[in-house]
Symmetry: C2
Subunit: 317 residues, 2 copies
């Protein structure tokens, strides 16, 4: 394993870094993340809120069971963490549909490698037409007290990117608005041309972040376990000259259940990195600095929020 | 399929757009792609060279059989287009090793979801130690006559990004240097800390582009067919709390052959979008403009080169 192994080292180093590394130092270093810095954009790591500071030494956050969905695919189990704090109406409807067994047996009928895997009930079926449409939850207003963990200033798609509660997001202070970003593994509601036409069909992103969909779609969760099984979903989109994929070969949803409704023996309990912790902020800095010898030439001091992992940990029962 | 379908429409529209759409118009529109434009960076779509202009009406480029590699995985066939024009020494060695059967039976021993699938011979085996190391081919010098199809000015990782011969690249005019970018599906040589220590172990990127590896690794090709099978490779990297994956379960390379050495009946013949064509440039503009009604609110007028598809077409024998 001598090859390329040094790339894992920074991750390991993070775990051993002293927690006394102060936020003052972090803020200073964070400034260097902006390559094309200009006036008019706030440049600082936003400190955790009072409530978060109480436990910001915690490296891991246990994911609340009531926010976890168990998506069973023929290839294995997938766990989604829902985000009611950002998209409450979509989460409420998705939970209700899941508990009603709405998604069991649905097919992934629109699967494009490097883009999305989309599923839902058969078109024009009673299942399809009976679900109320939802008003878009594409972004939310922020004020000066709104806080998150900054990853990058002055992106091309947003003035700032960062994390909150493990979810990648973007923030435009100039518009006092923030939104969840289309990083790989997010789940969002599909819709027609009407912004408020999403109801039950959903997609999971499976490739390079389609950030041009930010703010105009309702992201309501992210895959925190089993993304490899999402990547195994049969692609329905063929290239020119290839045989069409028969609908009988589409990947089915074996079952979709709220984790709390799964028999205890089959529940999966997870923790994710606490993106409000000092340790996480320290890791971000390490990731920007790339001090490892492997980086004989330093990359630009920038981070892509969608290429910044928020790791998951499997908890025993 | 009413949901989300509008996103495919722009792709279809591209095919019907008039070819008379002049490069003058394209250049004008391209200027608007730079959100945070500053002085000092060239802002124009670089016109195809004289040789390329001769056939720049061709929507597709047939991939030369001598540059194609057939990677057979247990899940299906993968085709890689090699890039001898950018990384000649790595391509030469990779071809020689492939023809010698070096990779047949190798395992993907380092597979991290959202990052890379890495393969090579067993460490410290005679196969592993007998291969000469290669000098890094991470970037190449450019001059004022060097040309490519511009996608975006003023990225965070490079002054410009674009395509040449279907390969995503970046260009810093201020340094007179260009390099292939770590978009999903590229193949590059793994190495140790020594920049010039790559020899035979390789990796294929399978997630959000790790652009921080640009210029310090030798990219020498890209997957143009069967990326879904690459995504099916067994992940060897587990999360905390999970059982280790036994090496017996690692995905093997069934065989790796130069396409020209494959029996005719089993050869796969492919074309890819001609990134030097006017039609491709027109598509880029459409992709920036997002004129479809689905985009009730326009995204920022920027493109991520790694999220810009260069489509493949299966040719009959």
């Amino acid at each position: 394993m001598k090859f390329f192994k040094m790339l894992l080292k920074p991750l390991i180093i993070f775990y051993h870094l002293t927690l006394s590394f102060s936020l003052v130092v972090l803020s200073t270093l964070a400034l260097s993340t902006t390559v094309y810095a200009e006036q008019g954009v706030t440049k600082h790591i936003i400190t955790p809120s009072a409530g978060q500071q109480a436990n910001n030494q915690d490296e891991w956050r246990t994911v609340a069971i009531e926010n976890m969905v168990l998506l069973s695919l023929p290839y294995g189990e997938v766990v989604i963490e829902l985000a009611p704090q950002f998209s409450p109406k979509h989460v409420e409807q998705f939970m209700r549909l899941t508990q009603a067994g709405h998604y069991d047996g649905n097919k992934f009928y629109r699967v494009i490698d490097g883009f999305v895997a989309q599923a839902g009930p058969e078109e024009n079926s009673s299942l399809d037409s009976s679900i109320p449409s939802l008003a878009l939850e594409g972004e939310w207003p922020t004020d000066k007290n709104w806080q998150f963990t900054l990853v990058q200033n002055k992106g091309l798609f947003a003035e700032q990117t960062g994390f909150k509660d493990g979810f990648a997001l973007a923030h435009n202070p100039s518009e006092a608005s923030a939104w969840l970003t289309h990083c790989p593994g997010i789940i969002a509601m599909a819709r027609g041309n009407d912004a408020n036409s999403g109801s039950s069909h959903f997609y999971i992103t499976n490739g390079q972040a389609p950030r041009y969909l930010d703010r105009i779609m309702s992201i309501f969760g992210r895959v925190i376990y089993g993304m490899n099984h999402v990547q195994a979903i049969t692609r329905t989109a063929t290239i020119e000259g290839e045989t069409e994929v028969a609908s009988a070969d589409y990947t089915p949803i074996v079952s979709m259940k709220m984790m709390a409704d799964v028999p205890a023996a089959k529940q999966i309990h997870l923790a994710v990195k606490n993106t409000e912790s000092r340790l996480f902020a320290t890791k971000l800095i390490q990731r920007i600095k790339r001090d490892d010898a492997f980086f004989f030439k330093k990359p630009p001091a920038v981070l892509d929020v969608c290429q910044t992992p928020v790791l998951t940990r499997l908890l025993s029962q």
